[in-house]
Symmetry: C2
Subunit: 581 residues, 2 copies
């Protein structure tokens, strides 16, 4: 077989196996060395292709697609710094457990570390930030090597999906000439059809029945079980109904982080607690709500007051359930780390634990939650453009079935405080693995490939950091509505001790950009609106159908006034909560 | 001592030592964990601070400063994906041998791998792409630990500078509270003054006199020494005069890559050959110019015809001289790899080799170079906007003492072909370590911090990739004039075999962005001009003084017409060269 035939058979085998194992999207950045991979992917009918020149943004876009589809997404780039640009998204994917299959083309061995153009050391390029790395052999179409290429494809998918899901990296050295044999593709397809695909089946962590019996006997020791359930981000849809059943059976309130998705379609579910970020700042309340047992699922919640509450309740039995066998407990308060599939854990515990008869403790949580929410409702009275009110209004403004991507730094915290249980179905998404402000627009647009209508709420620094991501909306006619909170700089630092050091504050932390983002939106042929009143914003929401294009609605706020507004509200509510008995 | 005092003394000791060892610039990205590093750097009078929210761009900016100043530049970021964004520039710095000192703030040990916010595994984050990694101890002000902090500072600088220069990474775990004791800074300064700084002296590779005697006896074997000298990029100003002397003594022409800087102030130096990228495509010429000896300095040249010429002359003794002890020879044609300081090598060889009396071979190179240049001059006759003519005109247009940053992909190749020896002093800079299209604007602006007037010539994809970098011009009033060649996509692929596959060409390789860059320039408050004629361009060069602000002058070209123009010119000149005897 010729070089071209060997190249084609080998790369085709790898790609076919990826497709057979369920890959539906590939995000490609243009390059020469990666030519056979890109061209053969383009020939696959079952793969939707996205091409993006900025690899940093491309990788976050793939992350978004994988996040929303819950399936491994393929990334392809050429050799050199192209691959290094993937790094931030890969780091995020590893921590937030999102499956990515990164295929990097590489120079063959004889062109490495000899000053060849676009040749960098790509072996273990992402270090410990991928779950699995494979340096492939150079193309070879002997039956054993075709089987090897297929096995690499199947293993890449299996490793990316296996709990905890995450990114894997396959490095593929390719020699010139790089053009595959597209004219005879039918032949390679037929050859491939003769072969079986490789299936890799991975089980889940399941604990024994006796474990659950023991757990129940511990929990039943006290008559009035003072227990709470905490749900962070968890990428498992079947889990929701199961945890609500568990809560009902045990009488444990569910502290629902915005990323738990439990604030969606749950306005009437009293057991779901959603204003704890406000009321757990109050000492009186915290003493009233001291728990004996805490069962926590998913990633660490956003709320700092909640984290402090956990730290202050070292006396409680703190159980962390993690089907992905990580160790998500920054305070090391866990008394029992449970590696068990979360849905199974809920079902099993529900089936063996007795129904809670005394609900004093639960009722206290519900009462305080309702009281706090009533107070927070006053946010609606704010007349001027305000960050707090924006987050408070979102539930009303955003259409049913929407997906809302939330920027890090202040937006996710404000969302936690001001966005409560809805009867609408609203999926909340954020990059909370490493909490970076990078790649936010691109990740959101990736989510938008799978789910629409898409809304993104971000601050100006986060928006700026990933401005290049907006081109994906233009190139792929991906609808997105951006609520841009422009306080001209890093709003979060006004809430940190740094603000007391005026000497270098604006230079190092405030960092105003002084940008008129209207120009950026025009560059990508989007619609731009500067929101001057709440009526403006309501009108825009009413008249838009969100089915096409890029919309950026900018709300200009002021960092100092925002700090003051937050402080005044917190102080007011604290006074109300102080009255509790 | 309190936590705050220990923190301050420790971080201050590290930073003071960096300053004492010659650091003059620091590029900081805002963040909370890095607060003590940033604030204490801001208090250093001898450090110029640059703050930039996009860490990818910030790192390339630091790379540019270090490239132009030839001194280690400090980078500071907070923990998390911020640090991962530095990766592309670090990879480039490693290969192109640019000294960077990367200081990443990190969570302390107890917050690692436990789901804490913004905590990623930063140990060996950049793998083999930094020369040296040090995970520091947490702050401690005991005398031994202060000495340790100072030693880390001194070693970081020494390692970054030592040949081959490159990036180093110091990871600094910091516990809250993070605010340093700025009120008593005078105390820490006085303490620091009592201590001596640590000096690390590194020598150069120098070969013995007997080596040079042996080399000369090999070179003298033939009567008519047919030798050539090739100079790629080399970051050593004293080298230029020495290599020209060596050429004069040996009678070897110098093949001068554009990044060798030997095309500057050398229009009258016949021995410098600058049109080889054109004439080495000709078989006849190549047979006339077969060398016996090749002595090569610096990085691999840009020209592909030159690389092929080297490969076709395996009979020649190919000597590669590298003071940085790398292995820059993708074709593995080296018969002698010489690890010796390049200037010393030239001086020593010049002093021991006899003066060349027969110059037939040299004269042939000069004759062909002149003939080719005469033919290339016809580029000046092109009336329409043309990429070839733009590069041909640069020497005339650009003011004396300018620095010209050249984008990768097509611009650096066109510059090689069409930009010849000047009497002006024009410094040519590019990112030729990994030849990426990323970070180009930022690196150029970093160079512009040190040297002005600054010109950048780039294609539209490269310009787009690093658009965020433009804000540095706005924030720091850094003057830059961008010559933007907009052929709406990846022009280089039209020159590669991919162009023969029309089915996916535009999707995977052409990748048109369809962007009106005028908006981007307006966003950064720059001046934008669409160049419609050569008169326009000349007028703009005449009336500008290049002392302030951002200017983007766009030339819209056509990928297909450009390919045709290049091919026609090559064919015409090949016919002329075929006539040679």
């Amino acid at each position: 077989m010729s070089h071209q035939q060997q190249l084609t058979a080998y790369v085709h085998a790898l790609i076919s196996e990826l497709v057979k194992n369920g890959v539906a999207h590939a995000v490609i950045s243009p390059g020469s060395r990666s030519t056979p991979i890109s061209l053969l992917l383009a020939e696959e009918e079952d793969i939707q292709l996205h091409v993006h020149v900025d690899e940093r943004s491309a990788a976050f876009f793939a992350l978004g697609i994988a996040k929303a589809s819950k399936k491994p997404t393929v990334l392809v780039c050429t050799s050199g710094t192209a691959a290094a640009n993937y790094f931030p998204a890969i780091v995020e994917a590893k921590i937030s457990r999102i499956p990515l299959v990164v295929l990097t083309a590489d120079r063959p061995h004889e062109l490495r570390d000899v000053g060849a153009p676009q040749a960098i050391d790509q072996l273990d390029l992402y270090g410990k930030h991928v779950k699995w790395f494979m340096e492939m052999a150079t193309p070879d179409s002997s039956p054993g090597m075709i089987r090897y290429a297929k096995t690499v494809g199947a293993r890449a998918i299996a490793m990316a999906k296996q709990h905890p899901s995450g990114p894997v990296h396959v490095n593929i050295p390719l020699r010139e000439p790089l053009i595959p044999d597209l004219d005879n593709l039918e032949y390679y397809r037929l050859e491939e059809q003769k072969k079986t695909s490789i299936q890799i089946q991975t089980g889940e962590f399941i604990l024994s029945d006796s474990y659950f019996q023991d757990l129940v006997s511990t929990l039943n020791k006290k008559e009035d079980r003072k227990g709470i359930i905490i749900c962070g981000e968890i990428n498992n849809e079947e889990f929701f109904a199961k945890v609500i059943k568990l809560a009902g059976q045990t009488g444990f309130p569910i502290i629902a982080d915005p990323l738990s998705q439990l604030r969606s379609k749950s306005a009437d579910k009293e057991i779901i607690i959603d204003t704890y970020d406000t009321f757990l700042r109050n000492e009186k309340v915290k003493s009233l709500l001291k728990p004996d047992v805490i069962i926590r699922f998913g990633s660490m919640p956003v709320s700092k007051p909640l984290t402090i509450f956990l730290r202050e309740n070292e006396q409680a039995k703190q159980i962390v359930v993690d089907g992905g066998s990580g160790y998500r407990d920054p305070n090391q308060l866990t008394t029992e780390m449970v590696y068990c599939e979360e849905g199974y854990f809920c079902e099993k515990l529900t089936s063996v634990i007795s129904h809670c008869s005394l609900n004093h403790y639960l009722n206290k949580w519900i009462e305080i939650n309702e009281l706090t929410k009533k107070e927070l409702m006053q946010t609606a009275e704010i007349q001027e453009i305000s960050e707090a009110k924006l987050f408070h209004s979102l539930g009303e403004l955003i259409p049913n079935d929407a997906v809302l991507f939330v920027g890090n730094s202040m937006p996710i915290r404000d969302l936690d405080t001001f966005f409560h249980k809805q009867n609408k179905e609203v999926t909340i998404v954020a990059n909370r693995g490493a909490n970076g402000i990078d790649g936010t627009i691109s990740t959101a647009l990736g989510v938008g490939v799978i789910k629409q209508p898409l809304f993104l709420i971000v601050g100006d620094l986060t928006f700026f950091h990933d401005l290049n991501g907006l081109i994906l909306s233009q190139l792929y006619q991906l609808p997105i509505t951006v609520l841009l909170i422009n306080n001209n700089g890093g709003g979060i630092f006004s809430f940190l001790p740094q603000v007391e050091l005026p000497r270098h504050f604006e230079l190092l932390f405030g960092t105003p950009l002084d940008i008129d983002f209207k120009h950026a939106v025009e560059m990508y042929k989007g619609e731009y609106e500067l929101i001057k009143s709440w009526q403006d914003l309501q009108m825009l929401f009413q008249k838009s159908n969100f089915t096409a294009g890029l919309r950026v609605w900018e709300l200009q706020t002021n960092r100092e006034r925002n700090l003051l507004e937050h402080r005044q509200m917190t102080n007011r509510i604290q006074k109300v909560l102080d009255q509790l008995v």
